[in-house]
């Protein structure tokens, strides 16, 4: 299981305002390799593509080992650019990055065999079969043992559900099949870190469920998973941590629970929703129980549960329900809603649809 992180994990710009820096033990005495608390750690990472505009601007990202880390942001916010820098595909304009405790891109030869990556979708040799594609990528890995190659390739194919289509030419694969093959390439070896850029893109619902299950399984084995996606409930379902980017800047990062709490400013018990054919009566009863911000839309009544600051503690939900029924309100549905990651995301990055230029 991912190690539970005691205490507060830094939320929003972890390095500012006197908050102690997450200590990455540098090379210890006697040249011991750093233990490495962070799977990924960047400082002031910046990239300006030719043309000058900053695609990534002073990124300070820390991804704890063992976490499933959701990397969020609107289109063009710099997620893929960040991943390219982490993988040594492009040079940073400024700043530095460490992956698995080692500097990138300098230590790529040592680090990358321990990293599986899916970057901007899969890329395959159309004229080779799925199996031959994997054999080729495996041959490019200096740490891959050619004697176990066949077994590992077959296992990776099974894992993504491509066992039956392994001999088909990749040209004839559907989008989802290509995506699965790309994932299989990332799973050819046991990895310490998986970097997945929109891994569920193009997958059918079963495929998405399988990927989620796969991510959980890998995380349970101790693999850190760094996952960029637009599918927020996707991230919410699997991620322990998340960061949000917009226009190349990191807006916030932290545990998923902390994010919902801090960003939406609603650490309280949340909103109560009652579905009833008698909304007017329901509003009256709920008001008596101290709920605020009551709203009625058709047969749904929602309201903010009161804070537990008067010493009496928050009202017991069952009591409210009983009171409604006593007052003759016919209740169809009753329950609290927590803020979703989608709310967090929209709150942070704005409602606008247009991509930042």
């Amino acid at each position: 299981m991912p190690p539970a992180r005691a205490g507060r994990w830094p939320v929003a710009q972890p390095y500012d305002m006197g908050e102690p820096m997450p200590q990455q033990p540098a090379t210890g005495p006697g040249g011991m390799p750093p233990a490495g608390e962070w799977a990924i750690e960047t400082r002031g990472l910046t990239k300006a593509y030719r043309g000058g505009q900053l695609a990534v601007d002073g990124l300070d990202l820390v991804v704890p080992r063992g976490s499933v880390f959701g990397f969020l942001g609107p289109n063009g916010s710099g997620k893929t650019t960040t991943i390219r820098m982490l993988m040594g595909l492009i040079d940073a304009t400024a700043g530095s990055a460490r992956v698995l405790g080692q500097p990138m891109p300098a230590a790529g030869r040592r680090v990358l065999p321990k990293v599986g990556a899916l970057i901007e979708g899969p890329a395959l040799y159309g004229y080779l079969s799925g199996r031959e594609n994997l054999r080729r990528f495996d041959a490019a890995d200096p740490d891959a043992d050619p004697r176990t190659r066949d077994a590992r390739v077959d296992r990776a194919l099974e894992r993504v559900g491509l066992g039956a289509a392994a001999s088909k030419k990749a040209r004839a694969y559907s989008l989802g099949m290509k995506q699965r093959l790309g994932l299989a390439a990332a799973l050819l070896q046991p990895r310490e870190l998986l970097v997945l850029d929109e891994p569920t893109n193009g997958l059918d619902p079963q495929g998405m469920r399988e990927i989620r299950a796969l991510v959980r399984e890998l995380a349970a084995d101790g693999t850190t998973v760094f996952l960029s996606s637009h599918l927020l409930d996707e991230i919410e379902q699997v991620c322990t941590h998340a960061a949000v980017m917009a226009r190349g800047r990191l807006i916030t990062q932290g545990t998923v629970a902390d994010l919902s709490a801090t960003v939406l400013g609603s650490p309280g018990p949340g909103r109560l929703t009652v579905t009833t054919p008698d909304p007017a009566d329901a509003v009256r009863v709920l008001k008596e129980h101290g709920l605020t911000g009551l709203q009625t839309t058709d047969d749904r009544v929602t309201g903010e549960l009161p804070e537990a600051d008067d010493g009496t503690g928050p009202p017991e939900l069952a009591d409210i329900n009983a009171a409604l029924v006593h007052a003759g309100v016919r209740v169809r549905g009753f329950g609290t809603e927590r803020a979703t990651l989608e709310d967090v995301f929209v709150q942070l990055t704005g409602e606008g649809f247009d991509v930042a230029g």
């Binding site: 993988m87 595909l89 901007e120 395959l124 004229y127 080779l128 990528f137 490019a140």
Partner: protein, 290 residues
Amino acid sequence: MSQAEGVLRRPRPLWSLGLLRSEITTTFRRWRTLALLAVLAGVPVLVGIAVKIETGDGGPGGGGGQGGPAFISQVTHNGLFLVFTSLAVTLPFFLPMSIGVIAGDSLAGEAHGGTLRYLLVAPAGRTRLLLVKYATTLTFCLVATLVVALSALATGALLFPLGEVTLLSGTSISFGEGLLRALAIAVVVALSLIGLAAVGLFVSTLTSSGIAAMATTVGLLITVQILDTIPQLSAVQPYLFPHYWLSFADLLRDPVYWDQLQKNLGLQALYAAVFGSAAWARFTTRDITA
């Protein structure tokens, strides 16, 4: 984890050979590569048939005029000369064009398809990948030349008599020695192409479009071939990579004239060094965004 690492981190010095083998098999399994080789194999057959038809019509062979490619008048007497003729016919354009296709596409094609980024995060290593690509292109140079030579030998043996070989200097050597000289010529022709292969590799590092890199390399080849024929440019011509290409004929003299052969090989080595270094400088610093 440390035990797993111990297993994983065993040094594997032969790993680069595994990558090279993967690259060579991948290249030679492509339909495009096979089509190029098929075209190259077809040229000697066409030349052989053309010579046969012409001499069949025109009575006794050997008269056949002084025009046409080198050695063509000797082919009717000795099928082995079809090897020399075919290499002389394909060397100015067909052979280098196919090298331009393979070399130009080597990195640009991978960049275009996006597979380059996965090879690099595998991590193949940029220098190593570049060396593997160059080695594969050189392998293709040799295979392509041998395909022309063997196709010519087979066609020559089928259509014409074989026998003693009369050299350009007038002396005769046995058929066996003639075969050896043919092999030596094929190797020299293959080596003549390594300069162009380096140019193509360099062009391939400049772009993410395989088609553009192939077209540029082939275009450069044609331009340089034309420059090589303009008399006013005689001062620079000794530095153009195709300038000494046809010097392979000097291997058919007794004694062999080494001067031009050496100049050719020296020039090819120079091109390989210059453009190989340029390709390395470019590829190891390039942003891979495709």
